[in-house]
Symmetry: none
Subunit: 164 residues, 2 copies
DNA sequence: CCACTTCGTTTGCAATTGCAAGCAGAGTGG
DNA sequence: CCACTCTGCTTGCAATTGCAAACGAAGTGG
């Protein structure tokens, strides 16, 4: 009754926060809201007001619009949610640059899908291996780059080692 | 603290309503909110939640974004570009991927600008030393990569680390 | 083992939202 | 003059937001 479908936005916030690898309290502090309230928001127990939403967006360094859309407070059509379309429509880019951007973008989406399956590795600070924290970025980019650097044509961007 | 400066949005709503030549009650009905509450909102005595704001926007047949901007709930930034907005709004990317994409994009824009001496209304206070004569794609991408591949200390990336 | 820290969560409670009902003023017209 | 209708505004009140404080769990270190 009191929570129709606020869950989606809570999940989204939590997802974004965990991807940013910051704790609930950290985000709460960055957003200027209380920790317990953020906890309740993330679990869909509370429906944050627009102000809170905006602050959380800032704390997450994401677009407030993204949050509003997730919360169903903005019609999707109002936001250019299509990255590829936006890139294609950008007149400041050369055609080549457009292609590169689109390719990298699509490569990212592919990796994101693959990465979503292994979201369980919660590491604690300064306790051991850093592994894929800082290495994944260049890897992702290099992978996306290859087809252009070598002009190979088609390259699958997967080199991860998951499950065994 | 008891009287927030929501006056601007109230004024804006009232303006829009009068421009549409409808009464307060009519708009209240169309928006699905109570008349007295709308009255208080218009006079800045109440701070409506995002939901109410959205409903009012619908009742006024105006963009919800316009209202959010008026309410200060969306940073009406310089509208960096549709591409950046789209990337920021993309819920399928991780934050890091977003940053990388935006970085690459801005790197492209930078190079394009250097190549194209067509500065119109831009004031980007950043010193780019990546002016390559060659326009080879790998070069461009490497430029965008450098902050990540080398070290994550110094990079002219868009960092909004303002503390309030 | 106990102090110390960090994590997310639960528990009251003040402050606020948002509404139903009612108030005051300005037209209309019988 | 009174009834009716429109305008916007004020008054209680239930429900909700949002926070301070405290709680259990899990890790670190003396």
């Amino acid at each position: 009754m009191a929570l129709p479908k606020v869950g989606s936005i809570g999940e989204y916030i939590r997802e974004q926060r965990q991807q940013a690898k910051i704790s609930l309290r950290q985000l709460a502090a960055a957003a200027g809201v209380s920790n317990p309230y953020l906890s309740q928001i993330e679990r869909g127990l509370r429906k944050p007001s627009a102000e809170i939403l905006n602050q959380i967006a800032k704390g997450l360094h994401i677009s407030a619009q993204a949050l509003y859309v997730q919360a169903g407070l903005i019609e999707d059509r109002e936001t250019p949610s299509d990255v590829v379309t936006a890139i294609r429509a950008d007149t400041h880019l050369t055609e080549r640059q457009r292609q590169v951007l689109i390719d990298i973008y699509e490569s990212f989406r592919k990796e994101k899908r693959a990465e979503d399956e292994q979201t369980s590795q919660n590491a604690h600070p300064r306790s051991g291996s850093v592994t894929d924290d800082e290495q994944s970025l260049p890897a992702e980019l290099r992978a996306a780059l290859e087809p252009y650097a070598a002009s190979t044509g088609n390259g699958t961007v997967n080199q991860e080692t998951k499950e065994g």
